[in-house]
Symmetry: C2
């Protein structure tokens, strides 16, 4: 495997969203229940709005706020506007996983372009990249907002192909989300699934080409051109 | 509101899926964890495969079995083939909610056609209708399998329109799933959301026209033609 460019998912793949859990701890005594329900709803809303069609699209920041409001009401939490903002702020304060910077350095030193392809809205991604201190390391930061539909719709993966102007076989897509890995594989991209939690493989009919315990396992797997 | 036909979602709307929980109790000492994860994955797989495109379609029975396998592995349960079959069997042994038969009788006596529009595969729906003893009460039983994509994609709701050959304004769609109610509303159908659990309204931008504590609340809301 010798990709000329590597396409990364953002949240959960490059960015540890522990900052979201930390923000929830600041606003409720049951942060685990809130984070769990919030993230599940955020994902569900992205899928459901995508299936409903173009008129139902709302960007990821809106969906994230909507999912928080649902989760808080479901749990009987009466979040003040300040607490609501504090919780949402968690998405803007993410940090990279420990191995991210060294992995990106190694990929760059081998001449591989790195891009981000994320459900996040452009302003969320800007804030996250600044917070994580890795903004300059990417050739491009691609948001689904450009096509107004969320992963795993094929139009999203096509965005990366168009931006890189490179055949799929010369690319590699990396995600920690099993459904995102399957979606990219179904689209026709070579895929690496980052499985930090030893989760079972998703039964979606499209298995990843490689499975990585974390991102540091990636550079040694890639062939370096001689010369 | 005076619909000439009422379109019902099946699982959770007409059919109480307590039989699935009961089947899980027979195969594991932690049935609640299994049922919760199983149903969440079943839904996720239906959304994800629908977004991935036609080549990723698998029918609801396949998805249901795949979701069970994922959930069992995630929970460290080693289900024997017999236990796996027992758990799956729960989906074929559903019963109607207590008010279903009397509601269907009232709707029929007012001359309204009743149809089912479900993610379930045709054979799952056949078994469920027989188990619940309500097979003869429906003008049509429509499975998404005919269009090979799951709710809430518009093609699914179009199936009901085509089968009934009736303008949307003369129909009423009923579901207990907030995302399904929103999907039908986005498509353009009048919608009643059955909210048996006092759940919060989903934040999806398309609110139901009416909210029902259970199906018995429906017939009194409908106008009966004089004559």
């Amino acid at each position: 495997m010798n990709p000329s460019a590597v396409i990364f998912d953002a949240y959960g793949t490059l960015f540890d969203v522990a900052s979201v859990a930390a923000a929830c701890t600041a606003v409720t005594s049951e942060p685990e229940a809130l984070v769990g329900l919030w993230r599940a709803k955020q994902l569900e809303y992205s899928f459901v709005r995508s299936l409903m069609g173009p008129a139902a699209y709302a960007d990821f920041w809106t969906i994230t706020a909507d999912a928080l409001d649902f989760a808080a009401e479901k749990l009987g939490l009466n979040l003040s506007p300040a607490d609501r903002n504090r919780a949402l702020q968690g998405w803007l304060e993410v940090q990279p996983y420990p191995e991210v910077k060294s992995t990106l350095d190694l990929l760059a030193s081998d001449g591989r372009r790195c891009v981000i392809l994320s459900n996040g809205s452009p302003s969320m991604l800007d804030a996250a990249l600044t917070s994580a201190g890795i903004a300059e390391r990417f050739h491009a930061v691609l948001s689904v907002d450009a096509v107004r539909i969320f992963k795993p719709h094929p139009r999203v993966y096509q965005l990366a192909l168009d931006a890189l102007a490179t055949p799929p076989a010369e690319l590699l897509f990396i995600s920690s989300n099993g459904w995102d890995a399957a979606g990219a594989r179904a689209f026709g991209l070579p895929v690496g699934w980052v499985n930090r939690t030893a989760a079972p493989l998703e039964r979606l009919g499209f298995a990843p080409d490689i499975v990585l315990a974390d991102l540091s396992a990636l550079p040694p797997l890639l062939v370096v051109d001689a010369g």
